[in-house]
Symmetry: C2
Subunit: 156 residues, 2 copies
DNA sequence: TATTGTTATACTCTATAACTATA
DNA sequence: TATAGTTATAGAGTATAACAATA
């Protein structure tokens, strides 16, 4: 349990990360904004997925996920095959065209970050990754457990 | 200079931070969205500011800053005094009402983060803060120096 | 009746461009 | 002429609610 000013600073820094995200997004192909890009990224990492699982991994509402997927599918980057186990669902996967696009996007991401973070060691980048992963995990747990479970700070 | 997969992971994690930001924003007063909140936060930290300097600190366009400031000023959280040195500018500062609102918002931020990050030590939160600050600084430097300055990776 | 996914609507954040007032 | 700031417009991301098809 950290000091109050550390939390305030963290809240500020988290909102300020948007600057970096916008900087990265500026390098994306004009046809493929950040939302659909994240979809491609997760399909490469996890293989075939259903909408509901993809939305869960993105941590955004399925309605939003549906639009990102539609955007990518209209351009041939994603294929939607019928799910033999449930006719309501479709199984999403990257097409070769989608794989090529994602490779190009990854290359641009890496170039941009490599240029910006010249002075960072592997260990430092890995440390930031680990902390961000843990942040998301703990924050997600907190939300799924409900607001303010009052575990230690006795409310009265 | 870190390995490629570390950069790809960082890009993914940065886009995914939005989940946490949205979680924090859900606890804001309905009248005060995240944009104006950041304005209040920076005015408390830096004291009296001009629009241009505030936009610089927020790292967003002045037109956007202007709208956030107008939102806060309309509700009495910010006062805009004429700048004696330049009649085009106004000096922005928190009002007592704005200070009270920000104190309440900070309290909610801290409560939420304290609940989510129960297992984090002071040092770990501080480490994440430091890395995020450094990330923004290096990324901003990179952008202000122009794209791909080619300092070490000789292009040909 | 419950669940998967889509679509319609609305809100927030941001950038670009046009504009006003002052330097 | 250049700069500080405002406003209009447009684009991206998200959430909620209503809906269709299937379990």
């Amino acid at each position: 349990m950290a000091a109050q000013n550390l939390y305030e600073e963290l809240a500020r820094q988290l909102t300020a990360v948007g600057t970096v995200k916008r900087g990265l997004a500026r390098n994306l192909p004009p046809d493929c904004p950040a939302g659909p890009t994240a979809v491609l990224h997760l399909l490469r990492r996890h293989g075939e997925l259903r909408m509901s699982r993809l939305a869960e991994l993105l941590a955004i509402d399925m309605s939003v996920t549906s639009r990102h997927v539609a955007h990518a599918a209209e351009r041939g980057w994603i294929a939607r095959a019928p799910d033999p186990l449930d006719k309501r669902s479709r199984l999403l996967r990257l097409t070769p065209s989608g794989e090529r696009l994602l490779a190009e996007i990854s290359r641009r991401y890496v170039d941009t970050l490599a240029a910006a973070l010249q002075d960072w060691s592997d260990e430092e980048v890995g440390q930031l990754n680990s902390l961000l992963i843990r942040l998301r995990a703990d924050f997600g747990d907190c939300r799924s457990r409900g607001p303010l479970p009052a575990t230690r700070t006795a409310p009265a």
